[in-house]
Structures are given as C-alpha cells and as structure tokens.
Amino acid sequence: MTLAHTQVEGNPGAKPKSSPLAIAGRTFESRLFVGTGKYKTYDLMRDSLRESGCQVVTVAVRRERLYNEQGKSLLEFIDLSRYTILPNTAGCFSAEDAVRVARLGREILEQLDNPGANWVKLEVLGDKKTLLPDPSGTIEATRELVKDGFKVLAYTSDDPIAALRIKEAGAASVMPAGSPIGSGQGVLNRNNIVLCLELLKQGDASFPVIVDAGVGSASDVSIAMELGADGVLLNTAIAHAADPVLMAKAMRLGCEAGRASYLAGRIPKKLYATASSPWEGTVSYIPGE
C-alpha cells in the first residue's frame, strides 16, 4: 500500500530533466543564494560565501553613516567579478518604498558595473514581528518594477495562489518562504511548496522557484531541493552558526544532495516494509508460511 501523502513528496518514480538554473536569461552552476548580513566579521562572511559555492549574494540598501569614522565597507569583502549582487528591499512595508529602495540599489550597482544591477530581491513586508510578506504590496511593486526594467525575484509566503499572482505580475522568479525569515524552522509546509512548484511551473517548467527564508540547517536545504525547488536562499543559518564557514560547506553539500536526490527520482513512501534481501533460498523458518 502506497501512502496517500507520497504525492506531496516531490514526484516519486519520475526522473526530471537536469538543466542549469536559469534566471532572467542568466545561468548559474550553484543553486544556493547566500545573504551577507549578520556575520561577526567581514572576513567570516567572505570565507563563508566562498565555502558555500554561491554565485549570487544578497545585500541591503541603507543610509550612509555620516558621522561615524570611515570603517571598512562591505564591498571590500565581496569579489565583484565572482558574485552577482542581488540588492534587496528588506525593511520596506509598502510597494512605494520597495520601488524607491530598488531604484537606489540599482543606481549603486550600475556604478559597480555588476550584472545584478537591474535585479532586485523584492520584499514588501506586512508585519515587523513575523516579517511575513504583504501579498498585495508585493504584487503592486512587482508590476511597477517590471515596468521600470527590473528583473524581480520576489519573496513571498508559501501561499500557492499568492505565488501565482506574483508570477503573473511579471516576476522573473518567485521565492516562497519555507518558514519566517531567520526562524530556522526549515520547510514547515512541504505540501504548500509542492503546490507552489506545481502552479508556478505549469506549462513553464523552467520558471525558477527559489525557497527563500527559514532555513536552519543543511537538511532543510536538501528537503527544499528534493521537493523540486530550483534553488534556496539563506543567510542567518550560516551567519549565526557556531562555525559559519563549516555550515556554509554543509549548505553547499545539502543543496547538491537535495538536487541530485530530486533528479534521481525518489521511491514512493510505503506503509509496509519491502525486504532488501531475497526471500528465495532462505534457510530459516518464516512465520505465516
């Protein structure tokens, strides 16, 4: 007997096609996107990014600190020839502010001549405590930014219909959260991630869906990738690990393992056991036979 819920464990028995991750016309070897926030030191951040193997890193746009002594700048620790910089709109609670911040980020990246210049990780938040996204604000900002030439990678909840509406608004990628930002709870509702994947990829198999937020450990990344996500975006799980560089490695391996496991086509889950050794030729007494 196959368990009914195996239908939500990715796609048992199927062997999906392997292809590199493509977003807005660019392809990436690594499917891990890593944030640059909350590391104890910039050196730790740089080493963690390197160990994670990521090719896209997220950054935030903030006021220049005018009256502080000139400290080291984040950009001194990010190899601009190696990483695509994806500026976010974190901290924005309205579509209007998110659009403003996206434009400011683009202006900076254009000066740096980085390919991420017209990309934005769109966050329109609805609540400071949960950092859950505001779906209508996200849709509104997506439309506005797409009109302005942006490639929008939109953070959203794991609500499949909200995710679909954001895609329809023109997002280059939709990024459902596994669980709240920085919570480390992993993928709380696998079924919703599977439904997001199904709806977003219907008739458009290569549409990139990235699980963004909530990752706590490497197995969380594996789970998201096994479900068929195209990539995973994380920050706190590496930055606040006791050993961020080692955790970055674990995340890279978890991502690769999950992707391979997805491509390999997992077995369905079954209620009863199936012996791995043959019954034929057993010399022992078998109960019931």
Partner: protein
Amino acid sequence: MKIVVNGQTREVPEGTSVESLVTELGLAKAACAAEVNKKLVPNRERAGMTLREGDVVEVVTLVGGG
C-alpha cells in the same frame, strides 16, 4: 538654508548641489546613491541638481543583508 540629510537636519549654503553635498559628506568615492524628496537622483544628474530649503535627502550604500 536647512535641509534634512539621512534624517538629520543640516545647514548648507544656498546653491548646494547634490554632488557637492555628497562630496562634503566625504562620500564622493563611495558606491552610493542619492534621492531627494523620495525621488532618485541619478549619478550623472547630481552635479546639475541644486538643493532647496527643506529638501529631504537620502544618501544610501550597500550593507550586509539577506
């Protein structure tokens, strides 16, 4: 005249441009972006944009984030 820069009121001479403000703040070489009254001022337009009394200016840069 008084303007507000990154949330703080600041006295600047009449005729100050966005470019000269950014230079005075010591940010001319930094990767930064500026907006005046919530509207982006592109890099190439900073020198030609003169600030007016009461303008609200934001000068931003990139910091670590997720």
